[in-house]
């Protein structure tokens, strides 16, 4: 049995610039961090059962992976030529579609786990690329590579997506004081609005030609964000996010909606320096940067706005940063094959 753990991520700036339509002509850049919310994947070889099983919110048992409903498990099993005697189960700390990158975290865990099952250990970069290939090439999802890279590597990083498809990973190494100060300034809410990242991104992708200049600004602002973070200028970071959020709102009509606007405005009115919608927008989570002194006010006001908008599943998500990426936590399968 193999147990793999992949962290979720909070993306601060530059989302959308990791799409090839953009980075083929100008470097895309994203700053993100992994957090202590995880996707877990269990891979169990079943030598005596000539079937393929996938266990998630559904439970499927089929005679060949081509018959699976779960698109990612199906595509990756087919791609790796694993056709029988395997059972795959997934577990998560949070529901899907929160905007915390969970679907790519799942893909990285799947890539790392199934390769381990075949006796091959993937480096973070290999795992990120394998997951990106699965989602973008095999499944034709109109998404970028930032989430796969974030989940595979772990920690606070600046990712740069180059025209030739290569990715530069720059870890932003903060000492514990700066790191704790930044972490304590953040407050995260699940809005209860779910969205399909692909829909928003498809819409954004269509408009990339028109909005190229704005994307360039977004990409460059990732560098500014890095510099402010390393300098410990948390207020500056918050204010930057506020600017970026306003920029992004113009990118696609689906990135924001009245409900989200009302929650966001409530947070700003309560004293947040800035904030953003996490993920591709249209729902998911809302993140604020604010002095910890303002957090209880923000909590109260944003909660009230959520009640008014009748968001039944609205809820705060407490979290901590983590440094670890996607790890095989347990493997008694391919015992020490080197």
């Amino acid at each position: 049995m193999i147990l793999v753990r992949a962290p979720l991520r909070i993306s601060f700036v530059g989302g959308g610039t990791d799409i090839p339509a953009f980075y083929r002509t100008y470097p895309g850049r994203v700053v993100s961090t992994t957090i202590d919310k995880y996707v877990y994947l269990v891979i169990n070889p079943t030598p005596l059962i000539d079937k393929v099983s996938a266990r998630y919110s559904q439970s499927e048992t089929v005679t060949h992976p081509s018959k699976l409903q779960h698109t990612r498990i199906k595509a990756m099993l087919m791609d790796l030529g694993i056709t029988n005697n395997i059972e795959i189960g997934s577990f998560a700390s949070l529901p899907a579609k929160t905007g915390l990158g969970s679907s790519s975290s799942f893909s990285v865990a799947l890539a790392k786990g199934l390769h381990a099952h075949k006796g091959k250990r993937l480096s973070p970069r290999e795992a990120a690329e394998a997951a990106s290939r699965l989602e973008i090439e095999l499944l034709k999802e109109p998404i970028g590579k930032q989430d796969q890279y974030a989940a595979a590597h772990g920690g606070i990083n600046l990712f740069q997506f180059n025209a030739d498809g290569s990715v530069i990973v720059e870890p932003l190494l903060l000492d514990f004081k700066k790191r704790a100060e930044f972490e304590k300034s953040l407050i995260l809410f699940y809005t209860g609005l779910t969205r399909n990242a692909s829909d928003v991104l498809k819409d954004q992708k269509k408009q990339i030609g028109k909005k190229r200049e704005m994307y360039k600004t977004l990409s460059d602002s990732a560098l500014e964000f890095r510099d402010k973070l390393l300098a410990g200028d948390i207020k500056g970071l918050g204010e930057m996010l506020h600017e970026t959020w306003r920029h992004k709102k113009q990118l696609s009509t689906k990135v924001s909606n009245t409900t989200l606007n009302s929650l966001y405005d409530a947070g700003i009115k309560a004293g947040a320096w800035g904030g953003k919608v996490l993920g591709a927008g249209g729902g998911g989570c809302l993140l604020f940067v604010a002095s910890p002194k303002k957090h209880s006010d923000i909590r109260r006001r944003v909660r009230a706005a959520a009640r008014k908008a009748k968001l039944a599943d609205f809820q705060e998500i407490p979290f901590s940063f983590v440094d670890s990426g996607t790890d095989v936590l347990f493997n008694n399968d391919s015992h020490v094959r080197v």
């Binding site: 919110s57 998560a92 529901p95 899907a96 304590k184 699940y190 790890d327 095989v328 080197v338």
Partner: protein, 211 residues
């Protein structure tokens, strides 16, 4: 006499000033990641470096949390290899001295672990053998080397090189001791800070799966 002492102190200061800070930061991150996945840290070296390894393990496993041992239930699991003299002698006598680190490492190593290797020349065969094995397993290797870094500095994922004239074991080992103490002190301060400024835990009540 005074000149001799001053000269040595200056040389040591210069050697310390040239240690790449980014690599120490990476070493700290590597250890933090190992802690997060409940992995173990294996550390080893020859001669004086072996004593540095033993010294570090005793500091790291206990002293890091000394400010409040009761509140830190989860602690580091750092282990010096070989962990007993008997094991050392058995591997050396039966399998050859090249196997004293690789032998035990093969027994213990899991994917969740990390390795710290200390070698002034960076070229000791037993060290190079052990880290080559860890590299093949994709287990991160922190290398503390001296002189020109040798093979250890080339192979290690984290390259902590104390750049000195060849043969200056005195400077290299003193600097290694300082760096290892820095790492211990960092985690000591970090965990103490985390306790002091701990956020009150907030419960996640009703986020349900599979919507």
């Amino acid at each position: 006499m005074r000149d001799y002492i001053d000269k040595h102190m200056r040389e040591l200061t210069v050697a310390l000033e040239h240690v790449p800070a980014d690599e120490i930061a990476k070493a700290i991150r590597t250890i933090q990641r190992t802690f997060e996945r409940d992995g173990r840290i294996y550390i080893f070296g020859n001669g004086g470096s072996l004593s540095l390894a033993t010294h570090w393990v005793s500091d790291f496993n206990k002293t890091v949390f000394s400010h409040n041992l009761k509140k830190h239930v989860k602690r580091f699991q750092a282990i010096r290899l070989p962990s007993t003299e008997e094991e050392y002698s058995a591997w050396a006598n039966d399998e050859g001295h090249d196997m004293v680190f690789l032998g035990p490492l093969q027994n213990y190593l899991q994917d969740t672990d990390c390795v710290i290797a200390i070698s002034s020349s960076g070229n000791s065969t037993n060290i190079v053998k052990a880290i080559s094995y860890a590299k093949k397993r994709h287990v991160p290797v922190i290398g503390l080397s001296g002189f020109d870094g040798g093979k250890l500095n080339k192979l290690a994922d984290v390259k902590i090189l104390v750049d000195t004239e060849k043969g200056r074991y005195d400077l290299v080992e003193s600097a290694h001791a300082a760096i290892l103490h820095l790492i211990t002190k960092y985690f000591q301060d970090s965990f103490e800070h985390a306790l002091q400024y701990a956020k009150k835990p907030r419960k996640i009540a009703s986020l349900t799966r599979g919507k």
